[in-house]
Amino acid sequence: MSIEGRNRTGLRAALLSAAIAVPAVTAAAEWGEQHLDLQIDVRYVDTNAEGSFVHGGLGLSRFDEDHDQLQLGRLFIEYRAPLTETIDAHLTIDTYADGDKNPLDLTEAYLEWRPFPSSAWRWRTKLGAFYPPISLENRKAGWQSAYSLSAGAINTWLGEEQRTIGAETSLSWLGSRAGKGVDISLVGALYGWNDPLGVQIFDRGWAIHDRQTALFGGLPKIFDESTTRPRVEFFHEIDNRPGYYVGVQAAWPERFVVRALHYDNRGDPAATNGFEYAWLTRFDSAGLRFEWQPDWTFIAQWVDGDTAVRPEDGLETLRLGFESYFALLSGVFGKHRVTARYDHLSTYMLRGGLYFDSYQDAKAWTLDYSFDFGPRWQLWLEALQVEGELEQRALLGLESDFRERTFQCAIRFNY
């Protein structure tokens, strides 16, 4: 335990000192241009959801009947600074003011090295804590969706449980700069400190919202209250086995992107640090985004995988299958954007446990409208309905069939 404790402290100290060092270094850099995005998002929320997962329940919305009306949607700062001509530091500082461990925390912190291409081949390398190239929605500062308040279930899940803490490198062939129109990229990463990835989707299933778990934060444990740590902290190394992902992408700039990725965290399902287990999580992901004139976007993503854990109390390995896909259509009309998305959510036991079965079969409709009513101001309206079956609700004395409806009206100030 003490070794684990030291490991955690070590990672935290390294990331925090990086966070402090970055502005100091860039302030000293002579030719730096620093860039800062700040957003304050305040919302009025009306929902019929009971017991949000943010407060230890099985509600799939960020908000619930006891936590709605006036809410802080999010406050974040994304800071970007060149350390050298080709190395940038990125830092995202976040708060949702919903009772997480740290009132302010980091969601991403990484260095990106982008050497100039001297031929049609280009390398890019990231080092630190960041998102893998899976989401085709979360394109804005703060890894925010450009199309809706709440991201699709797949990308919501990544925001909750996943972060690449390690190194990622990509090699692109820039055909669009060589007269061929298409850019082809290969990407690969090695990472650690994300072993609990899988516990949230096992306990609660897929959800649809816009809350990203901070690197030093967590989410309340829903069923396991026996340990001294009441929150799941996703960003720990437990089994000392690095994971990897490999992916490929073809892009016709500003027109069409198609990508696929295989993810394997190579977790040891028997390993534990006393608070969390290491989960063996593997999945395949694919997505495409098509943009056409005057300003329409279609996005589809799909994920299919499984996760396994072997609790130490003699039970056999539990294995959960999960699958989700969504299709999104969005159009811009002057200062107005309208988006509609359909999500399919599914989890099912591949190998059951004695006391707990996870099963989710649900669908969701998300409708969004946004209006840029000032150069720095946006109004967002979102209506979200998730309905279906979530069997583990019965363990909390709820009916397994549910229909959650959430309406949100957000005012965003961007600086």
Partner: protein, 224 residues
């Protein structure tokens, strides 16, 4: 009186120009570019290269050109220049750009930070130079460098007038990044008689790629 004088001036000026052109034996070649359906195609680079030894000096000496960056786009998106022309790359955005090209005709990289002035780059080799930004992958620009003095881009009517041509044989080329023609560009041989004003219509055989987005995507993060 003043009014009549003004009118006379307005009428006389083109006449004088015509007389001057006739005296010099110069021709004006009109080029029209139409797509498969007969609709005009704008922003097509047209170059007329004399087959004979170019015994006339350039009408316009290589002077100076500008490729700006405005709202994360190269402006103009397509620039045609003569070999030897210096090109300025200002940055009108309030964010940094890193402009590069690895095209054989001109390899360069230029970090453009806000509020800095950089010396112009001289493009001394003919060919197509594709320009990108290492920070914003969606930015794509083209500098078409030609050694011929007769060049330009078609207007919104799909038309370009190449003026001051001397009589002789010309190879006329048309190029646009939106072309999907079997060859990269369209080539035609044209015989231009002195004092004539020939008309050349180029019709595409393949559909055009869509126009680039009018309004560039907002500040999206790099994805790969």
């Amino acid at each position: 009186m003043l009014r009549i004088g003004y009118l006379a001036g307005v009428l006389m000026a083109p006449l004088a120009l015509c007389l001057w052109a006739a005296a010099g034996g110069a021709a004006v070649l009109r080029v029209d570019v139409l797509d498969r359906d007969g609709a005009p195609v704008n922003d097509v680079v047209i170059v007329a290269t004399p087959r004979h030894a170019p015994d006339t000096p350039a009408l316009t000496a290589p002077s100076h050109a500008v490729m700006d960056q405005i709202e994360r786009q190269f402006v103009p998106r397509i620039l045609v220049i003569r070999t030897g022309t210096p090109v300025d790359f200002p940055n009108s955005d309030n964010i940094a750009h890193q402009v590069y090209s690895f095209s054989p005709a001109k390899r360069f990289q230029l970090s453009l930070y806000r509020g800095r002035v950089y010396p112009p780059l001289v493009f001394d080799k003919a060919g197509l130079v594709v320009i990108g930004c290492n920070i914003h992958d969606n930015m794509l620009g083209y500098i078409y460098v030609t050694s011929s003095p007769y060049f330009g881009k078609t207007d919104i009517h799909g038309t370009l007038y190449l003026e001051g041509l001397v009589g002789g044989d010309y190879a006329v080329s048309a190029w646009s990044p939106r072309f999907n023609e079997p060859e990269d560009q369209i080539l035609r041989d044209v015989q231009v008689a002195a004092d004539a004003n020939p008309l050349l219509t180029l019709r595409l055989t393949q559909p055009l790629s869509p126009e680039p987005r009018v309004k560039p995507a907002k500040a999206y993060r790099n994805e790969y």
